[in-house]
């Protein structure tokens, strides 16, 4: 966009007398996504160099990090949107465990059709999301604490109920239940010689929906508003409570989607499945340029955050480095990305006109 020349009457604020040339590079560099995009390229180049000969660049290598990234992105994208809206959700790990256990127990122990079990799990996740949102908004407590509570409640209750019904914490046998074959097509197909799992497309669907909500709809505008300053948003008529509750529902529903994919892929469930995802999702969102205090961030950036994570996790395996090191690597990457992002944000807020 260019400087508007002249105006009705005399312009009281000269348009550009103190403005340096703002090049397209600068405009690109102040995007919230930039840190994650650079980070992804950097770690990819790094592992392409040191592990290129050992299969990292092969179809199998590529599909392995893409599927790790996809599983993370399915949860990280809604978490990023929720964080842009100013809240956290630490219960998403337990939601995966609870939903996959609901699916597996209803179908294997009670003989339900798998699709009906999916429906029940989905309704359950919506209820958890509504409860999280309602509790946070009504009590005024930090969502960090409220959802930490939900996390433990769900984990404990899932384990308790599962042991009560099956006597185990790990239930299998999903391949024998009615509806499994069609569910396998939808959630666990692989393409191009069994390499690329369908979850990559599910992740892309979540990314497209998330990016569309944030950039294309009035609701997305409200999310930025309630995260930036809930009072200011309320003053201009944004329904703050409804927006935030819907965001909690979105994270819960996406976690349920991941539970469906994993239950069908592994033909079973474990009560501990999904544990730890809550922090990985926050890492991906923050690497992707989401501000911890809300009001700023990007869905596309979060996708690249998840991608960088997947590349590191699988790249270390291909490089033959002891896998114990991968968490150290993730930590370094997180810190570097946050440093870069805070610099980007500062630059973006510098006066320019």
């Amino acid at each position: 966009m260019s400087i508007i020349q002249g105006s009705a009457g005399k312009a009281p604020t000269p348009a550009s007398e103190r403005m340096l040339r703002s090049s397209w590079i600068r405009r690109l560099l102040v995007r919230p996504e930039i840190g994650a995009v650079i980070g992804s390229i950097a770690v990819w180049l790094f592992f392409a160099l040191i592990a290129g000969n050992s299969g990292f660049l092969s179809l199998r290598g590529t599909s392995s990090y893409l599927s790790v990234s996809a599983e993370l992105a399915i949860q990280a994208v809604p978490v990023a949107i929720l964080m842009i809206g100013g809240e956290f959700d630490l219960s998403i790990g337990s939601i995966v465990g609870a939903c996959s256990m609901i699916i597996v127990i209803l179908s294997t122990q009670f003989g339900w059709n798998l699709w009906l079990a999916f429906l029940v799990a989905m309704i359950f996740s919506v209820l958890v999301g509504v409860m999280n949102g309602y509790l946070v908004m009504r009590t005024g407590l930090p969502s960090f604490i409220v959802t930490l509570g939900t996390q433990y409640i769900l984990l404990g209750a899932t384990t308790g109920v599962t042991v009560l019904i099956t006597g185990l914490t790990n239930v299998g046998g999903l391949q024998q239940v009615p509806g499994y074959q069609s569910a396998k097509v939808v959630f666990a197909t692989t393409f191009s010689g069994r390499e690329f799992p369908i979850e990559i497309f599910w992740a892309l669907l979540v990314v497209v929906i998330g990016a569309w909500i944030m950039l294309g709809t009035p609701f997305g505008n409200w999310v930025f508003g309630v995260g930036g300053d809930a009072n200011a948003a309320r003053n201009v008529g944004v329904p703050v409570m409804r927006v935030k509750i819907l965001l909690f529902v979105f994270t819960a529903v996406c976690s349920c989607l991941l539970a469906m994919i994993q239950a069908v892929t592994f033909t079973g469930a474990d009560v501990l499945r999904g544990q730890g995802n809550e922090f990985l999702a926050i890492v991906a969102a923050v690497v992707g340029g989401v501000l911890l205090t809300g009001g700023y961030g990007s869905v596309i950036g979060t996708l690249f955050g998840a991608l960088a994570f997947g590349i590191v996790e699988e790249g270390i395996v291909f490089a033959g480095i002891d896998a114990d090191w991968y968490k150290a690597f993730i930590g370094v990457m997180l810190l570097l990305a946050v440093l870069l992002n805070s610099y980007v944000r500062k630059t973006a807020l510098e006066r320019r006109r």
Binding site: M1, A233, R353
Partner: protein, 297 residues
């Protein structure tokens, strides 16, 4: 007399309004009005009751006593939304804009333009961009890029954008809460100019401030509050800037203050004298020392 025609109906009027919080009298017997095309300044020092009065006018609080009329009809607002729907928009000093959001998105927050239908209903970014650019150009802010964050604007520009937004969305009465308080001289000038423009467009403006130097150039009438009560309303022709300042401070207090200041000045002079003497002594000492050292050589 003021520029407003007193025989017409005021856009907004309160009659003998009082507000109590428990046993505390926040406001007592306040009457004021604003007409279309005038700037009504509400002046008062900190704690005078300005904020309480604004909150009543903008629908946050309900008056304990008295009547509130909009265009001659009595109203009972239950929320800020009610006041907004009646065309009364309040621009708060700090809660007006979201710094990290783009200017166009801020401008339309809560009233987003859309196009398309059903699931393809979408935020009309091009329209938002066009309107924001045009509305800001009207108040003299030339934007290169409406997607830049509001945080890149100066404080005065942010206030101006918030005012432009209220006007664009059909406000008849603008209540401006200390819009110039945190601003530098030039910045305040930008906002004051825009207040005058809003008046020229036929809006009624209630301009709350504690700075007579900002109020006097743009104000048509002045209502002075002090400790929850009103000193009355004065047309510009009836009162000078100095008189406003004096009344705001409370006449006697100010006299006492000038006495105190004179006392400070006197002691200051004494201190200055003493300091001068000390400096002279130090100089002499230095000279002596130099003398001494040259002797040694």
């Amino acid at each position: 007399m003021s520029t407003a025609n007193p025989s017409s109906t005021p856009l907004l009027e309160v009659q003998n309004v009082s507000k109590y919080f428990g046993s505390i009298i926040a406001l007592k017997d306040i009457s004021m009005s604003v007409y279309a095309g005038e700037v009504m300044c509400l002046l008062g020092d900190n704690g005078a009751g300005k904020s309480t009065l604004i909150k009543i006018l903008s629908g946050v609080h309900q008056p304990s006593e008295g009547r509130y009329l909009v265009e001659g009809k009595e109203v009972h607002f239950k929320s800020p939304r009610d006041a907004l729907n009646a065309g009364i928009a309040t621009v708060y000093q700090d809660l007006a804009m979201i710094p990290l959001m783009s200017i166009a998105r801020n401008f339309f927050l809560g009233s987003e333009p859309t196009k398309g239908w059903g699931p393809f209903l979408r935020f009309d970014a091009a329209y938002a961009d066009r309107v924001t650019r045009a509305e800001l150009a009207r108040i003299g802010i030339q934007l290169r890029d409406t997607t830049q964050p509001v945080g890149t604007l100066s404080g005065g520009e942010r206030q101006s954008v918030a005012i432009a937004r209220a006007v664009y969305f059909g406000a008849k009465v603008l209540i401006l809460d200390e819009p110039t308080a945190a601003l530098g001289v030039k910045e305040a000038g930008v906002v004051l100019r825009y207040i005058a423009q809003a008046r020229a467009r036929g809006l009624g403006v209630i301009f709350i401030t504690h700075n007579p130097h900002h109020a006097y150039p743009v104000g048509d009438r002045f209502t002075l509050l002090n400790r929850g009560r009103s000193y009355g309303t004065f047309a510009k022709s009836e009162i000078s800037r100095e008189e406003i300042t004096e009344m705001m401070a409370g006449g006697e207090d100010l006299a006492e203050l000038s006495h105190e200041l004179a006392e400070f000045a006197r002691t200051d002079a004494l201190i200055a004298d003493a300091a001068q003497e000390l400096a002279k002594e130090a100089e002499q000492l230095q000279q002596l020392e130099q003398h001494h050292s040259t002797d040694e050589q």
